[in-house]
Symmetry: none
Subunit: 211 residues, 4 copies
DNA sequence: CATGAATGAGTTTTCATTCAT
DNA sequence: AATGAATGAAAACTCATTCAT
C-alpha cells in the first residue's frame, strides 16, 4: 500500500542508463532554472528529450526522481566520509582532522553544487522526509565516529545530536549560497569552517569544565 | 504582467483588519498542523471562518498570504533589532553584545516558533525568493550596523555577506529543530551561539592579521 | 483510507439538486449511447453542460456517480417491495401474489429502463461490487419475507439463495432486452414471469416431496 | 475506418498456433485471477511468456483477444448443440430432450467455467456487442431448430426471440454464480432448468390455447 | 519473426481564482 | 462587501500500440 520512492530498475550500462541520467539531469536543471514548482513530469520529459511514458518506465513516480537525484549526490559525500573512516588520520589532532575533512567535502560540494531546491522537495512531500532523515542519520553516525576517536565526551545520543547540528550548518550554508554570488562562496567556506570549529571547541570546553 | 504579492489593502482598525488577521493565523495554523500541501485557499477560508471570496478581497492571490505571514513574523524580529540599534549597548564588548542579541532573538523565536514550512513556501515560488532576499537584506543591514559599531574591519559589502552568513546559520538551525525532539532545542541553542561566535572571532582575527 | 463512493452532499431542492440530476442523467445517456468505455469524467461534464470541477463538487469520484445512478433506480424498486410488504396481500394465493408483484415491478422497469451497461460498471470496479451485493441482499431479503409468508419450506439461507436466483433472472432479462427490439419486451415479460413461476413451483414441489 | 476485431491469421499447427493459445489462456487466467481492470496487453504478454510485440503479431488489438477467447468457449457450446442436432433424439419427448440438453451444457459450463468478466469485456466496447449478438443468434438458431422439431408453434421470428430469452436466463445465472458460493451452484442448476422449463411450458400452453 | 523500450493521447483529479447572487 | 458554487487549466500517471534493433 505504501508508495514506493525507489527507482523501478537498476539499469546497467546500456541505453537505459543514459535515459535515467538524462531524466535526472533534466530534473536537476529544471529545479535550478525554474524552481521546484516548475518541475512537473511533463516538463522533465520535455527537457530530457524523452516521453512522459519513458519517465514512468524508470521511476514509479515523481518523488522517486528526486530521491535518485539526492542519492546521486550523497553517494559521493558518503564515500568521502568512508575514506576518512578507513584511513589512519588519527596522527593529526582533531582540529586538523576536521579542517581536512571539511576541505574535502567543500571541494566536492563546489563541483557538484547540489540544490537548496532539492532540499525543498524533501520538505514538500512528507514521505520524502524519511529519506532525508535516513541520510542525516548515516552522516551523523560517521561524524560521531570521528568525534569518538578524538575522545569527545558525552553520551552517544548527545554526540549524535551534536553531529546533526554540525550537518545542519551545512544546510544553512546552501541557502546562503543560493542568495550570494558564487564568487564569494570560497570566502564563506572559511566561515562555515569557523562556525563548525566554534561549535566543536565550545562543546569540548564546556564538557571538560563540567568534569 | 508581473503578479502582485503584496496585500490588497492596508486596512486600519475596522472589521477588515480582524479578517486579515484571521486569514493569516488560519494559514499559520494549517501550515503547522497539516503541512504546506494542505494549505489550499478553501482550507484557509474554512479555518478562518470566512468565505473564499473574502480571502480574495484582501489578498490578490495565495502567495500574498504567505508574504503577509512572513512579514508578521519578521516585524517582531526587526523590532528587536531596532531596540538594540537605538539603545546604547556599546558599553559592553562585542562578544557580550552578540550573546545578548542572540539570547533575545532566540527567546522570541521560541515563543513564536516560525515554521520551517513557511520557509518552504518561499522556495516553492521563485517570485517569493525576492521577498525572502529583501528580508535577509534588511536584517543583514542591521547586523552590519552592529559590526561597524565594534569596528569589525572590511568593506560594507563584505560585512553584508558576513551578516548574511550568520543569518543563514539560523536557517540551518530551523531544519535541525524539525528533525530533533524539541527538548534538545535549548542545548542546540547554545551550539548555535557558539557557531556564530566562532565565525565572528575567526573573522576578526583573520582580518586584523592581514593588516 | 478506503475510497468513498457515496455522493459528497445530499443537496435539497435548490439549483444544486438540478446539477446533480444533470450529471446523473448525462452519465446515463452516455452509458446508453456510447457504452461504458466512453464514460469519462470529461465527457460527463461536457454532456451535462457543466465543468469537470462541478462534477467533483458533488461526487468524490467517478464511481460515486455510478452508485448514485444505481441508487436512483433501486429506490423505486425498493419502495415497491416495501408496499407489498406492508399491505395485507395475504388474502390471495402465492401465485397471484407473485404475478401481481412481477407486474408492478415490470411496469416500473419499463418506464425507467435501467441499463445493462450500469451493471457492467459494477463489475468493472471491484469496490462497487459491494454496493451491488448489498442491494441484491436487500432485495432478496424482501423476497424471502414473501416466501415465508406463504410457507415456502427450507432454511432461511436456502430461501435467500433462491431469492437471489430469482432476482438474477431479471439480470439476464436486462441483457435480453438490450438485444431485442423494445416492441417485444412485453412478450418477453410474460416469459420472465413464467420462468420465475417455473422456479417457484419446482421449488415447492421438490421440497414437499422430500417431506 | 472500422476497427478489426478478428484475429490477424488463422495459423495452423505451427508454433504460431501454440503462441495464440498461450495468449488466449493467459488472458483468461488474468481475467479470472485479477479482474478485467488488470488485463493490460503488457500483463497478458508477461503471463503468456511472450513479448508485447508478439501479441500484436497475432491480434490486431486487444479487443480481438477477447473475441478469440469468447469464440474458443463458444466452439464447445456449439459443438454440443451440433451433436444434438445430428443425433436422432426425437424418440424422447420435448421435456426430456431439453432436460438432457441442459444437463450436457451445464456440464460443459462447469468444467469450462466461462467468466462473467468476459461478458463484461463485451459490454465495455460497443463494437464487441455485434460479436456477442452474432453468437446469440447462432445459438438461438439452433434452439429454434429443436423447438421446431417438437412442433412448438409460432413464427420463426417469435421462436427466435423465445430462444434468445432462454439463452439470456443463462446470462443471469452467471451473475448469480459470481455472488453465491460455488458449493450451491448445483442446487441453482436445478432452478435454472426449472426456469427454462417454466418458460417453455408456458409458451406451449398459451399458444395452443390461442389456437 | 521476436523483442520490449518508447511513445503520447487520454484519464482522473485538484485547486487557485472568478463572479453571479 | 460577502458568499461559495462554478470554472477549467494543469498535474500525475496509465496503457494500447508502434518500431528500431
Amino acid at each position: 500500500m505504501k508508495e514506493k520512492i525507489q527507482p523501478r530498475k537498476q539499469p546497467s550500462q546500456t541505453r537505459s542508463r543514459e535515459r535515467v541520467e538524462k531524466i535526472i539531469s533534466a530534473t536537476y536543471a529544471l529545479l535550478q532554472e525554474q524552481g521546484l514548482a516548475a518541475v512537473t513530469t511533463v516538463h522533465i520529459a520535455k527537457k530530457a528529450g524523452v516521453s512522459v511514458g519513458s519517465v514512468y518506465q524508470y521511476f514509479p513516480n515523481k518523488k522517486a526522481i528526486f530521491v535518485s537525484l539526492y542519492n546521486e549526490y550523497l553517494k559521493d559525500i558518503r564515500s568521502i566520509l568512508d575514506d576518512f573512516d578507513n584511513e589512519p588520520y588519527t596522527s593529526m589532532g582533531w582540529e586538523a582532522f576536521f579542517v581536512s575533512l571539511h576541505s574535502k567535502l567543500s571541494e566536492k560540494e563546489n563541483e557538484q553544487n547540489i540544490l537548496p531546491e532539492l532540499e525543498q522537495a524533501f520538505h514538500l512531500y512528507p514521505e520524502m522526509r524519511e529519506v532525508d532523515i535516513d541520510h542525516s542519520n548515516v552522516i551523523s553516525e560517521r561524524i560521531v565516529n570521528f568525534l569518538s576517536r578524538y575522545d569527545f565526551p558525552g553520551s552517544k545520543e548527545k554526540l549524535t545530536r551534536l553531529s546533526h547540528f554540525i550537518y545542519s550548518i551545512n544546510g544553512g550554508f546552501w541557502d546562503f549560497r543560493s542568495k550570494i554570488s558564487s564568487k564569494y562562496h570560497g570566502e564563506a567556506n572559511g566561515w562555515e569552517l569557523a562556525a563548525i570549529m566554534g561549535v566543536l571547541t565550545h562543546y569540548r570546553n564546556s564538557l571538560s569544565n563540567n568534569a
